[in-house]
Symmetry: C2
Subunit: 218 residues, 2 copies
C-alpha cells in the first residue's frame, strides 16, 4: 500500500492531524460508503449529485443513464471531485464552539472517461458487487439494449485525502469544572430489513447473500 | 407554502415524476438531513465538502472555522450548490439494470454571504438547534474570541429541487416469472447511544433533551 501524493487542493489545512493520505485509510472509507457525492462544473456552476460507486485500485467507477447530466459531465474529461462521508457521532462539548461531529470522509479528485466494451462490463460488475456482494451472478444480466442505455464512467484518482475525527468532546481547560454536560450521540447507518417484492413468484425465497446483510452497518 | 421556480439546472430531467419543487417537500428533506455536501469552484476545480447546516425559510446557514477553504469559498458570493441525501433502501430488482436505491435528495443553488452581528448569532443558534434541539440554552455560549474565529455563511436559495424514489423494485414484464429474487434492503440511520465524556464532573447527568434522542432515526 502506498500514499496518495499530497496536493495543495487535498492537503488537510484545518486541523492537519485529522488528515490521512495512505491508500488503506482512503480506500476503506470509499469502500464502506453506500453512496458518494460527485461534484462537477457545468456552465460555471458547481453541481453536487449523489451516486453509487465501485472502486478497483485507484480507479472509481460511476454509472447512470446515458441521458443523465451526471454521466455526460462526469465522463467529459473535466476535473471532478468525489466525496465520501460517514457520520459516526454528534459531538456535544460543554461549549457550543467545541461541539462538532465524529466523521470519516474522503475527498478525491480526478478526470472521468466513458467506458466501453469489456472495461464497461467489468466496471458494472464492480459497482454491483460493491452495492450487494454476490448479486452479479444471481440477478438477470444486462441485455445489449440496456448496456446501450447505461453510461459507465471511470475516474482515475489523481489526488485524495481522508479526514477523520474519532474521539470524545474536547473542551477548554477552564470549562471542565463547569455545569455543562459533554459527550457523544453515536450515529449508525444499518440495514434493518429485507423486504421481498409484492410481485415475487411463489416459492422464491430471499437468498442468503441478501438475508445475511440484515443488521449490517454501512 | 409555495413552490421553488423551476430552472434548467434544477429541473429533474431523468424520470421527471420523481421531481418535487414544493417548499414542504424540499424543506422537510433539508431539515431531516444530519449533514449536507457543499459544492463550490476554486481555480476551475469543483470541490465537494461535507458540512452541518441550519435553515430558516429559504435561507441555509453553514458555519466553520474562519480559516477554512469551505467558508472562504462558500461565503464569497460565487454560485454554490448544496445537496442533501437520505438513503432509504437498496433496491434489488430481478435485473441488474433495474436495480436502484430508494432515496430522498435535494439539490439547492444560491450564493453565499458572510454574516456578522445579530444575524450571525441567530444563524449559529439555528445551526446548533438543527443539530441538537434545546442545546443552545444549555451549553456554554460562544465568547467574543470564539465568534471571531468562526465564519457563518448564509445562502439564500434561488432554485432547488427534490428527487424521491420510494417504492419496490420494478422489473420488465418479461422478467416477472423468472427465477430471480427482487425486493428491498431497508436502510436506516439512527442515534444508538448517548456516551458521557470521560472527563465529565461528578453529578452531571445526561440531560433529557439528549437522552431522549437515543433511538431517533436521522
Amino acid at each position: 500500500m502506498s500514499d496518495y501524493d499530497v496536493a495543495s487542493h487535498t492537503k488537510v489545512r484545518r486541523i492537519p492531524e485529522r488528515g490521512h493520505y495512505d491508500e488503506e485509510t482512503v480506500h476503506s472509507i470509499i469502500d464502506s460508503s453506500l453512496i458518494c457525492h460527485v461534484g462537477f462544473i457545468e456552465q460555471e456552476r458547481p453541481f453536487v449529485i449523489p451516486c453509487i460507486h465501485g472502486r478497483d485500485g485507484r480507479t472509481l467507477y460511476l454509472h447512470g443513464a446515458k441521458a443523465s447530466r451526471l454521466m455526460a459531465e462526469s465522463g467529459s474529461g473535466k476535473p471532478i471531485c468525489i466525496t465520501f462521508t460517514h457520520v459516526d457521532a454528534i459531538v456535544l462539548a460543554r461549549s457550543l464552539f467545541h461541539s462538532s461531529m465524529n466523521y470519516r470522509s474522503v475527498v478525491a479528485f480526478g478526470k472521468g472517461r466513458i467506458l466501453d466494451g469489456e472495461e464497461k462490463m467489468h466496471a458494472l460488475e464492480v459497482v454491483s458487487e460493491s452495492l450487494c456482494k454476490g448479486r452479479w451472478d444471481k440477478a438477470r444480466q444486462p441485455t445489449e439494449k440496456e448496456l446501450r442505455a447505461t453510461s459507465v464512467v471511470a475516474v482515475d484518482i489523481d489526488h485524495a485525502s481522508a479526514k477523520i475525527r474519532a474521539h470524545e468532546a474536547v473542551d477548554d481547560q477552564d470549562d471542565l469544572a463547569g455545569p455543562w454536560w459533554a459527550g457523544l450521540l453515536s450515529v449508525e447507518r444499518r440495514i434493518t430489513e429485507a423486504i421481498p417484492n409484492p410481485d415475487l413468484s411463489e416459492g422464491i425465497e430471499t437468498p442468503d447473500h441478501i438475508q445475511a446483510r440484515v443488521g449490517e452497518t454501512l
